[in-house]
């Protein structure tokens, strides 16, 4: 670590990508070809979809509402998005998806989080004293039963908690040996938390979360800052790995699935379609504007996919 140098080229690369690229393109590398992968919504779906488009074409993408093995021509606005039905191997139901997951058929999954502790226990429903978050949705089930879970999200030191206010997603519980198995859980627990300021993984023995990979532009000072912000004595991997920045293929995959620039432009009001909303327009011209962007994108992607 001592001889790592952050070059101006690295800093330029750092500025080139917004946090969504940094999280999702990097997280996409966690997902393996031919695996059956449970995507969440928003960026946790995006990360999985990039994998399918870039390096894992035979991944079986599943969405909890009941879509199996679809092509992911566009990122999904919800797990029941119409796009999930396109070129899908199977249409079934939500119960069926969770049944199949509890039976052990889902190899990997991707989820977001609000709080996480040392042993990867996660909360997504409540933050003290009075913040209601979205709720576990299928996340509580997925983190219970999918073989492994990758969490994704923009880094925020408040996410790292000594004690999660309300645990929705089981991690390694108290970290003791076979704690999950003894509790009755099917899956093997979280495998990584991918952020725009590094990847955190879990020690196979102690199940403690440590910093395992950083971007080339993260210097020792930044690493120390991240580690110090954790409310436990967070370790850094001895063989700390350097994350390759988003590749051109990965960036293209994001663009391909983002006709309305929801990922490329993170500020809602700065997106092109927002101007119609700000004008309060509900008319055909406004509707058409978005519809044409989406449809053009779909038609282009279908050509690539088929």
């Amino acid at each position: 670590m001592a001889d790592r140098k952050v070059t101006p080229e690295m800093m330029a690369e750092k500025e080139k990508w917004n946090q969504i690229y940094k999280v999702c393109c990097v997280a996409s590398r966690e997902f393996k070809d031919r695996n059956c992968v449970f995507g969440g919504v928003g960026i946790s779906f995006l990360a999985v979809a990039i994998a399918k488009q870039v390096h894992a074409p035979n991944m079986i993408l599943v969405a909890e509402a009941g879509y199996v093995g679809f092509t992911g021509v566009t990122s999904m606005g919800s797990p029941a998005d119409n796009a999930g039905g396109f070129m899908a191997m199977c249409h079934q139901g939500l119960f069926d998806m969770f049944r199949d997951q509890q039976a052990g058929f889902m190899d990997q999954a991707c989820l977001g989080l609000a709080q996480i502790d040392k042993f990867g226990n996660v909360g997504v429903s409540y933050v003290n004293p009075l913040i209601r978050m979205n709720g576990s949705g299928g996340g509580g089930d997925i983190s219970s039963s999918a073989k492994s879970v990758t969490y994704v999200g923009e880094y925020n030191p408040r996410q790292f908690q000594a004690k999660v206010d309300y645990i929705t997603n089981p991690g390694f519980l108290d970290g003791s040996k076979n704690a999950r198995q003894k509790a009755g859980l099917v899956g093997e627990g979280p495998s990584a938390f991918v952020t725009d300021r590094g990847i955190f993984r879990f020690d196979p023995e102690t199940h403690e979360m440590y910093l395992s990979d950083v971007f080339p532009w993260q210097d020792d000072k930044e690493i120390a800052e991240i580690v110090d912000a954790a409310p436990w004595d967070m370790k850094v991997a001895k063989d700390l790995k350097i994350i390759a920045p988003p590749s051109e293929d990965e960036a293209n995959a994001v663009a391909m699935m983002d006709p309305l620039q929801g990922y490329r432009i993170t500020q809602f009001m700065e997106r092109p379609s927002a101007k119609y909303i700000l004008m309060g327009r509900h008319d055909l011209i406004a509707y058409n504007y978005n519809a044409i962007l989406v449809e053009e994108s779909l038609r282009n992607n279908m050509k690539v996919m088929i």
Partner: protein
């Protein structure tokens, strides 16, 4: 009370949306909608219930349709079982602003959030809204248990989490065969399920294309089932795709011919979502006053779903249909 009518054994079951809601929704009724989250969910139901004004309603859904927030804003819902609300959105927008106002201001009533947090310093007299937390699979299993007419379903989710700590209806037991831990999830007690389907015949055979959500189970779990059909077809047309009949006639109490019943949300093979009206609703709902104006305009200002469609504009909806057809169409 009127004599109990055996709707399920009627030969033909057509009703209007008004009649379907007034027949099956009363003060205290528990209900759900089909689909999942926003897709193919019967959003029209929330607007119609707001117009009709039934009180003390109980709502249950895995990941909740945004429409329930409307009936929380009107004070009509007192119990809400769910796993997920689209609450935290891009740019600090709150997805269920009426729930947020219940929590922060006790307006229109205070809320007990899953036994974990509740409205602080509430001084009023309104009965609190009870929110009960589950996972998606657990809510689904509540429908499954009711559909099978058994008291519970075994489940392996949520061991070691706070979900069963605060939700005492999730019971822990040792499996009598292997002595391993297992959770029991109780059946739900459900009066009505409103389910949007792409096709139905007058007898009540409902056919779905695309994902099924939990509709198979909801249709068996509920005492009464109302189908909102994008298209009414002959029973002969039903015969062509019998595997798509996820709701056979024997489950169904009423069939409403109501295209665009999910608006502003999408239906697979039929129409896309309307992001503009959704965003307008969401932004308007951020304060109670502007939410009320939105309600006056889009809900109380429309007699029925057709007027709501007209206000959006039929030419926009026609465009929305074309847009959905890029991805899929429903075969005849």
């Amino acid at each position: 009370m009127a004599e109990e009518v055996d709707h399920k054994h009627k030969l033909y079951k057509l009703m209007s949306e008004q009649e379907a809601v007034s027949t099956f929704v009363h003060d205290g009724t528990s209900f759900t909608v089909g689909g999942f989250l926003i897709n193919r969910e019967s959003d029209c139901v929330f607007r119609e219930i707001a117009r009709q004004g039934q009180k003390d309603l109980k709502f249950i859904e895995e990941s909740a349709s945004p429409g329930v927030d409307m009936l929380i804003g009107t004070g009509q819902v007192v119990k809400f079982d769910t796993a997920y609300i689209m609450h935290r959105q891009v740019g600090g927008i709150v997805g269920m602003p009426n729930i947020e106002r219940c929590l922060k201001e006790g307006n229109p009533r205070p809320v007990n959030m899953g036994g974990f947090m509740s409205t602080p310093d509430y001084k009023g007299n309104e009965q609190p809204l009870e929110i009960v937390d589950w996972t998606n699979f657990q809510v689904a299993l509540r429908f499954v248990a009711a559909a099978m007419n058994v008291p519970f379903m075994p489940n392996r989710s949520s061991f070691g989490t706070d979900v069963p700590k605060y939700n005492k209806q999730i019971k822990f037991m040792k499996d009598p065969y292997t002595d391993q831990p297992i959770h029991l999830i109780p059946r739900c007690d459900l009066d009505v399920a409103f389910i949007t389907v792409q096709k139905a015949d007058r007898r009540g055979n409902g056919q779905v294309w695309g994902y099924e959500g939990c509709d198979v189970w909801k249709a068996r779990a509920a005492k009464h089932v109302v189908l909102f059909a994008e298209k009414i077809v002959s029973t002969e047309e039903i015969y062509r795709h019998p595997a798509h009949t996820i709701i056979p006639a024997y489950c169904t109490d009423a069939v409403v011919y109501l295209p665009f019943s999910s608006l502003p949300f999408p239906v697979y093979g039929c129409h896309s979502s309307d992001g503009f009206i959704t965003m307008d609703m969401l932004l308007s709902s951020q304060t109670r006053d502007s939410w009320k104006m939105w309600m006056d305009n889009w809900v109380f200002g429309c007699k029925n779903n057709a007027e709501f469609c007209g206000k959006i504009g039929w030419e926009v909806l026609e465009r929305s249909v074309k847009s959905a057809h890029v991805l899929a169409t429903i075969p005849d």
